[in-house]
Amino acid sequence: MKAAPFEYLRPESVEEALEALARAGEDGKVLAGGQSLVPLMAMRLARPAVVVDVNRLPLDRVIFSPSPPEGEGQGGGAVIRIEAVARQRAAERSGVAELAEALRWVAHPPIRNRGTVVGSVCHADPAAELPALALALDGVLEVRSLRGAREVPVSELLVGPLMTSLAADELALALRLRLPEGWRWRVLEVARRQGDFALAGVVAGSAPDGSWARLAVFGAAPRPYVIDGPAEDLPARAAEMADPASDIHADAAFRRHLVGVLARRALAA
């Protein structure tokens, strides 16, 4: 349970970080909150030769559009810890409240104190809440490398379990989320214990007049997926699209069943 040796770099600027990533190529890895990467390194499932620590860079901004009345909800200056965002729920600022609804399911306070929002999206765990939320809210990742800047829709980012379309030299700078006006959002999941990865979960949104809904499903396929349609059609369609794995925690049939039940509950609420 000890990580393999690596070279540790803590760049002082985004440019410096991009240079380090470009130099390291496939041997490099960005270290943000580290709450998923460090366990993988401890178990030697990940063995990056170069670790680029971005914890002191002004990254990981979450930008809502339309922007909440009092500004962005959180400013730059350092990476955004998940727990810091979750606590803003009390402020009930629009945008942040939707995000906080998902964050209450994410792990535990000591993990959320370190974990970052954009880091979780880039980690692309199929059972994680934040990639599915980003998918549901038409998330777009702002990405840079020495080769230039580009925008990656989250729908194109998530390729498979822990796999994204980001290149080794690319660094995610910010996540943009779109909040359609008047929609209500709900996040529900079932886990063995509160804070564990979900056996299955949903992010559900309903239009103001109830005529149209959107559902993003996580934990039930190699990557989260999203569907749109009349609310009454979505639970059955979501369960049909599920492609879950069987493991020691739950078999595939149970996970598929959960998708339908959670979708119905989330859309009815």
Binding site: M1, K2, A3, A4, P5, F6, E7, Y8, R10, L31, G34, Q35, V38, P39, M41, A42, M43, V51, D53, N55, E83, A107, H108, P109, P110, I111, N113, R114, R193, Q194, G195
Partner: protein, 153 residues
């Protein structure tokens, strides 16, 4: 090796450490403070929880070099050389430990709330320790101790 300077329980500690050394191993093997326990070494059990600049973190999921320039507080700092910390006294009163392996993690997870001094709800207390594993007590004594210490019914 990377030069590291960290304020550990109010004392400035300097060392040259390999980057792959976790903060937990640094605390135990380099600073010789063995109150911080290491259970799973991959962030699941919570035994290694310490405060980093006042917030609870898993010290097995941080490399020591990342703590450079920060303030680290371990269970040894709770009582200092004097009386038990109110959290420790409550654990004692409620028999909130048996083997004691998980206890430092529980105490430090709660210490973050204690340091914040604000009003604490029952839900916040439950949430604060939800990620800490205990294999002896069945948690009832721990929850009772936490509620008692914070004056939450």
């Amino acid at each position: 090796m990377t030069a590291l300077a960290v304020e550990l329980n109010g004392r400035l500690v300097r060392a040259d450490v390999p980057p792959r050394l976790t903060l937990a191993d640094f605390i135990r093997d380099h600073a010789h403070l063995t109150g911080t326990h290491l259970g799973c070494e991959h962030g699941v059990c919570g035994a290694c929880t310490v405060l980093l600049d006042g917030v609870a973190v898993r010290s097995c999921l941080l490399f020591a070099v990342q703590a450079g320039g920060s303030r680290v507080t371990t269970v040894e700092a709770l009582a200092g050389d004097g009386d038990l910390h109110p959290l420790q006294a409550a654990f004692h009163r409620h028999h909130a430990l048996q083997c004691g392996f998980c206890t430092p993690g529980f105490l430090m997870a709660l210490a973050e709330l204690w340091e914040r001094r604000g009003e604490v709800t029952r839900e916040e207390l439950d949430s604060a320790i939800a990620g800490q594993l205990c294999r002896c007590t069945g948690y009832a004594g721990i929850v009772a101790a936490a509620r008692d210490a914070f004056g939450v019914g």
